[in-house]
Assembly symmetry: none
Homo-oligomer: 122 residues x 4
Amino acid sequence: MKLDPTSGIPFYRQVEAALAEQIRTGALPSGTLLPSVRLQAEALLVSVITVKQAYDALEAGGLVYSQQGRGTFVAERGAEAAREKVRADLHRELTAARDHARARGVTDDELKSLFLTFLESP
Amino acid sequence: MKLDPTSGIPFYRQVEAALAEQIRTGALPSGTLLPSVRLQAEALLVSVITVKQAYDALEAGGLVYSQQGRGTFVAERGAEAAREKVRADLHRELTAARDHARARGVTDDELKSLFLTFLESP
Amino acid sequence: MKLDPTSGIPFYRQVEAALAEQIRTGALPSGTLLPSVRLQAEALLVSVITVKQAYDALEAGGLVYSQQGRGTFVAERGAEAAREKVRADLHRELTAARDHARARGVTDDELKSLFLTFLESP
Amino acid sequence: MKLDPTSGIPFYRQVEAALAEQIRTGALPSGTLLPSVRLQAEALLVSVITVKQAYDALEAGGLVYSQQGRGTFVAERGAEAAREKVRADLHRELTAARDHARARGVTDDELKSLFLTFLESP
DNA sequence: GTGGTCTAGACCACA
DNA sequence: GTGGTCTAGACCACC
């Protein structure tokens, strides 16, 4: 897992996204014990607080659960929750782009052809 | 023009976006003298510097030009520059959404059908 | 004579440069009475003060002289003074560019070849 | 680094230029953490906003990137971006001088010999 | 601690 | 009057 400091995306979101992706793909199956915030922080060269924020966000989304004194584990329905998260994020992005474009006078036809062009490019 | 302090979008970007939109639609035709930074600041209840940042951003994008002692004017090709800006923004948004989705295992077919659904909803 | 408000060059300098050029070419021969600041200002759609600043600058450079109550005239050696001004301006520009480049690690050889390339382009 | 308030060059441009030069020469290698805007402002006896403007300009040119809560760092391709900036600036200066001279009746031959003379002087 | 944004004043060159 | 620059504070999100 690598963090990109130049992307403008906060570290804690990058960590959250990377773990969510591993949970979605099954690289981290349900029940798996995540590294402790301390170890994770050392491994990523970030602060403990940053990792904690990421774990909290994952827990809020139902991808993991934590137990006082034991650690943080991938939830039973973690992969499913991760997929729901992908859908929700995508829904938000596309809706925003559509509304944005409409508000600025781009017709749906233009928007459609523009998008289909993007899908064909690699 | 109204500013929304709860949106999380900086004031200077909101001002920039609102003026860019008026230039794009022709509500502010080329050659028009914009309100001075001071007047605009008073009208919007923000600081002079905030308005200045917005005007600077518009000038950097070629939508307006300003001259010491005279004021800030809508550029000759201002509306065109505004349309280019819309296109560039839309391009960035759609590309990001596409790459995002692909990286998370959404197939192009799914993405396409999802997008077409969005276009049909109001 | 046309003024370009988008160039960033103050109006009074644009007026000064335009008149200096007409004096240099002989379009305004020595002894010619320049339009009054009031007429010139009306013709150029600028303020009287702006024209006055331009006339003052020309007088300081020896291109024109003014007589209280009579007006402003092209000086006897006006064309010559204009040519000297061109040389002085050019000297300043080239020296600045050279020093600038040297201070930033551009070798004289690079600078030379770069400049010769520019001279060959239209 | 010293600021010259008599030069007529805005502080934020002086700061920008000084840092760009240090990045170009490698005195500030890529990855280096720049002094925080607050520290830099104290050291130079200017306001925080002035330093911020300089840092913003450097970031717009790709010489540095900044991240909330971490600081401002010299970009990976910072030195390269600095060299490109030098080239672009020089290009603009030389082109302007050439066009200026041509418009005022200086032949390319005169211009060439004048320039070569300058290059030989220290 | 950091950068990102904002305020309410100010002086200057230009018109 | 205008824009261009600057100051000395301030609150917020992030680390």
